[in-house]
């Protein structure tokens, strides 16, 4: 018998023998005798039943048990599938004096000890029911059990709806008015059914129960020759054996009762790539294809075992421990099949805000901030343009006083050469078509790009038409743009040529002519200034409108989570933030900015600007700071219902495990060093255990832990207890129920883990206050 629960066993705790004959008048148990145990054992072996019990009506045949135990202990016994036998009796009990009797199977922890078996028989014979239809009253029944004095599991027969109290079926509900109450009180540990449809009814009856209540099937076989049927005539063709992931012992059954969700209806692990075990010198320490918990004191070498399994043996102390103890892994698994969460990994990633987004698992989509950046860059540009225009107007209008010209009769004479005046900004032609041309060209390029995308192939015709329309518009704009550009070019040419001309003229002119030209030039400048001032006085600066509120968010869906990323500007106005980054506090509205009409005022208004030459640089610097600040992202995770998962370390740690355990990626082994870190016991019980349970039949889990909840409540399949005696490692290993002359896993958990004893006691309370394992 192995000491880990790595396979699912069939069991049958309801088989009769000839000892039940006093209630069976038709002779169906006549041949179910000690002499025919080979018939029963062969049938059980044939049906691959690993654990069974002979549960006669109010009788106990210790001789029969002794014979069965000896047959199974024989070294060459031909029943390889049969692993264990438990002592038991089917009692007739009247729990309520005013109601009918019921059948209750009691399974005793006799440990196949002949003295204990004989004692059971003695107690029964001392309290023997002789009448066929007789039953123990409730008090008498408890008295008998107390006299037997062994740990006991009670399984009540329930062959119908628990609310059916009509008698006749020897069911628990025939004997008590409230089945739920008696189960809650801990009198009954499990219910037995025989037909699948009854199992369905009972599951439905018990859905509102807060405590798990296991349901067993029992063959109720009387005639061994016809096992698993009742007898030659009464044959329940729908019968199927109960299965549980247990060691075939009383303690295994007990732990199954206290955690039916992890022990019953289990299927074999579908995972095909897993670690088999570790060699510690010549000793082989198995690792099961299920849940493995490595426990032990600090410094006992637990993490070293994890690192060995995971191939991370770079640290010198790890190397030394491995070398000194001749530790060796049976075979290695490629790293892509392993998910390894080291101790401190989660807190480090949490602090670095990189949970869920390391190199391998970048779950958050990048944000496209271009619309926001463009909106505020343009806003800033237009704002600066308006401020500059304000400053220019002010300078020009109020600077006119500096420009004077005195009329000089002598300079009114004609020049010899032709004087050509060139108005200010003559060559500067505003081309309103340049930007629209660029925009429509970009648009065409984008549409053409889309037309090549597979997704848009179905819209090919519409996209072609769109391209044609856009090209028509582009042609119109282009022609207008060319005309205006040509005008600008020609004026520029004329301007340049006039300058050359005036230079030559100046060289050839007399001093009087030069004076006249200078006078004319000054006069032209004077006129230009007045004209410009008049124009500006009529023209208001164009102040930009505040950018719209923009969206900056993305959502990526994976493994039942929504990975959301949102920029600071998402859905909110950033104008106040813009003003505060760009300007000192008092300039927080357009109206305030309109009061800036000198470069000095602008310098003072711009945050951090100390001199006029720095205005441009500081302006750009502040704008970049604003954009950088506004495009910072906040990552958060929501579950499938869009319920936000908290941002505390504990909450995110929990979500991290949930995410990993819901991850459908192709990996096989989850290795975690202390998964309990940062997570409350309440959350471990309510959530973390269920996450690990969810994948226990699909992956291999190996973790180091100091938390007994992850050993006892998670119902680890294999517990490896590591000791380190001055550098020499020793281990003890097995599932929770494993015990032999050297090792008792429950005792190890109770004695070596903080809170271990309490956790075990709490689990066993389900079984009954007065029982101890």
């Amino acid at each position: 018998m192995g000491n880990t629960q790595n396979s699912v066993l069939k069991f049958d705790l309801h088989i009769h023998s000839k000892a039940s004959e006093y209630k069976e008048s038709d002779g169906i148990v006549t041949q179910s005798t000690k002499e025919n145990i080979s018939v029963l054992l062969s049938k059980l072996n044939e049906n691959k039943v690993a654990l069974f019990s002979i549960t006669d009506h109010n009788r106990f045949d210790s001789d029969l048990y002794d014979s069965l135990i000896q047959a199974l202990n024989a070294p060459d016994n031909p029943y390889p599938f049969i692993k264990g036998i438990l002592a038991g009796i089917e009692f007739d009990v009247k729990l309520d004096a005013t109601m009918e009797k019921c059948h209750i199977i009691a399974i005793f922890n006799a440990k196949n000890d002949l003295d204990k078996l004989k004692h059971i028989e003695f107690v029964i014979n001392e309290n023997l029911l002789t009448e066929k239809d007789a039953a123990y009253q409730k008090d008498k029944f408890w008295h008998v059990l107390r006299e037997i004095g062994l740990d006991t599991i009670l399984i009540a027969s329930q062959s119908k709806d628990i609310h059916n109290h009509n008698g006749k079926h020897n069911a628990l509900s025939d004997s008590v008015a409230d089945v739920e109450e008696i189960i809650k009180m801990g009198y009954i540990n499990a219910l037995e059914f025989q037909k699948p449809k009854v199992e369905g009814i009972l599951i439905n009856n018990l859905t509102t129960f807060s405590l798990p209540i296991p349901l067993f099937s029992g063959s109720d076989c009387h005639d061994w020759y016809h096992y698993p049927f009742h007898d030659a005539i009464n044959q329940n063709k729908e019968f199927h054996h109960s299965k549980a992931k247990i060691l075939p012992t009383f303690k295994g059954l007990l732990l199954a009762i206290t955690s039916p969700e992890t022990r019953f209806d289990c299927r074999e692990n579908r995972n095909k790539i897993f670690f088999d075990g570790i060699y510690l010198g010549d000793e082989f320490i198995p690792i099961v294809n299920g849940v493995n918990a490595i426990i032990g004191e600090n410094g006992s070498g637990k993490t070293t075992l994890l690192k060995l399994i995971n191939g991370k043996i770079g640290d010198s102390y790890v190397k030394k421990l491995i070398c000194d103890n001749k530790l060796k892994i049976v075979f290695e698994i490629e790293s892509s099949k392993i998910k390894y969460i080291q101790q401190g990994d989660i807190i480090n990633k949490f602090n670095a805000q990189s949970l869920f987004k390391d190199e391998e698992t970048n779950n958050f989509n990048e944000l496209d901030n271009s619309a926001f950046i463009k909106a505020y860059t343009n806003f800033a540009k237009d704002l600066k343009c308006a401020i500059n225009q304000n400053i220019s107007s002010e300078r020009i209008i109020y600077g006119l006083s500096k420009y004077t010209i005195a009329y000089d009769e002598s300079l009114q004479n004609k020049c010899y050469y032709i004087d050509i005046s060139c108005q200010k900004n003559f060559e500067k032609v505003n081309n309103p078509h340049t930007q629209p041309l660029k925009d429509v060209t970009d648009l065409i390029a984008k549409v053409e790009e889309l037309s090549k995308d597979d997704y848009f192939q179905v819209y090919g015709e519409q996209i072609n038409n769109l391209c044609k329309e856009l090209n028509t518009i582009k042609t119109f704009i282009e022609s207008k743009n060319n005309v205006t550009a040509f005008e600008a070019n020609v004026k520029n040419i004329i301007h340049g040529c006039i300058k050359d001309y005036l230079r030559k003229v100046k060289q050839k002119s007399s001093s009087k002519d030069q004076e006249i030209l200078e006078y004319n030039s000054k006069k032209q400048f004077f006129i230009d200034s007045i004209v410009e001032a008049i124009k500006l006085s009529f023209k208001n600066s164009t102040w930009p409108t505040i950018p719209n509120i923009l969206r900056g968010e993305s959502t990526s869906l994976k493994s039942g989570f929504n990975f959301n990323r949102e920029a600071l500007y998402n859905g909110v106005s950033m104008i106040d933030c813009f003003y505060s980054k760009m300007f000192i506090n008092q300039y927080n509205t357009i109206e305030k900015l309109k009061t800036i009409n000198t470069n000095d005022k602008l310098k003072e208004a711009i945050r951090g600007c100390t001199s006029i030459p720095d205005i441009e640089e500081k302006w750009n610097e502040n704008l970049q700071k604003f954009i950088s600040e506004s495009t910072k992202t906040n990552d958060y995770i929501t579950d499938g219902t869009n319920q936000q998962i908290g941002n505390t370390l504990g909450e995110l740690s929990l979500s991290y495990y949930k995410y990993y355990t819901q991850d459908s990626d192709d990996w096989n082994v989850l290795i975690v060093d202390q998964p309990e870190d940062n997570i409350s016991n309440n959350n471990i019980s309510k959530n973390l255990i269920s996450y690990f349970n969810y994948i226990r039949n699909e992956k291999q889990l190996i973790f180091v832990t100091h938390n007994p909840l992850l050993v006892v409540n998670l119902d680890a399949d294999n517990i490896i207890f590591v000791r380190n005696n001055k550098g020499t490692l020793t281990t003890e290993q097995g599932c929770l129920e494993f015990e032999d002359e050297h090792t008792n896993i429950l005792e190890i958990v109770a004695n070596n883990m903080d809170g271990g004893k309490e956790t075990i006691e709490k689990r066993l309370k389900v079984y009954g206050k007065n029982n101890t394992a």
């Binding site: 004609k414 020049c415 010899y416 050469y417 032709i418 004087d419 050509i420 005046s421 060139c422 108005q423 003559f426 042609t475 119109f476 022609s479 207008k480 060319n482 005309v483 040509f486 005008e487 070019n489 020609v490 004026k491 040419i493 004329i494 301007h495 040529c497 006039i498 050359d500 001309y501 030559k504 003229v505 050839k508 004319n520």
Partner: protein, 101 residues
Amino acid sequence: MEKTILLKMDKDKSLKIYINQEEKYSITGDNRSVSADKIYEIVGFTIGDHYKVVSENVNNVDKQVMDFFTELFNNITEKANSLSADKTTLEDNLDENFSID
């Protein structure tokens, strides 16, 4: 379109500017000045046009003035012609029905 700019110095020292034989502007001897805007307006530069400058000073009046002014127009038209040459190819490709504002 071919455009001929004739710069003609009259005996009375007035300088007349003709575009394709049509008088467009006159710079009198009393006020020898003109603005850059006026020059652009007089010539009516248009994409695709080709300009030729001809000067006429029969009486050889103020020759230096005439030479400088002619040289100015030669310089302008030479460069404008090269611009037009570049643009002509583009304009040829435009649909004839397109109107240019």
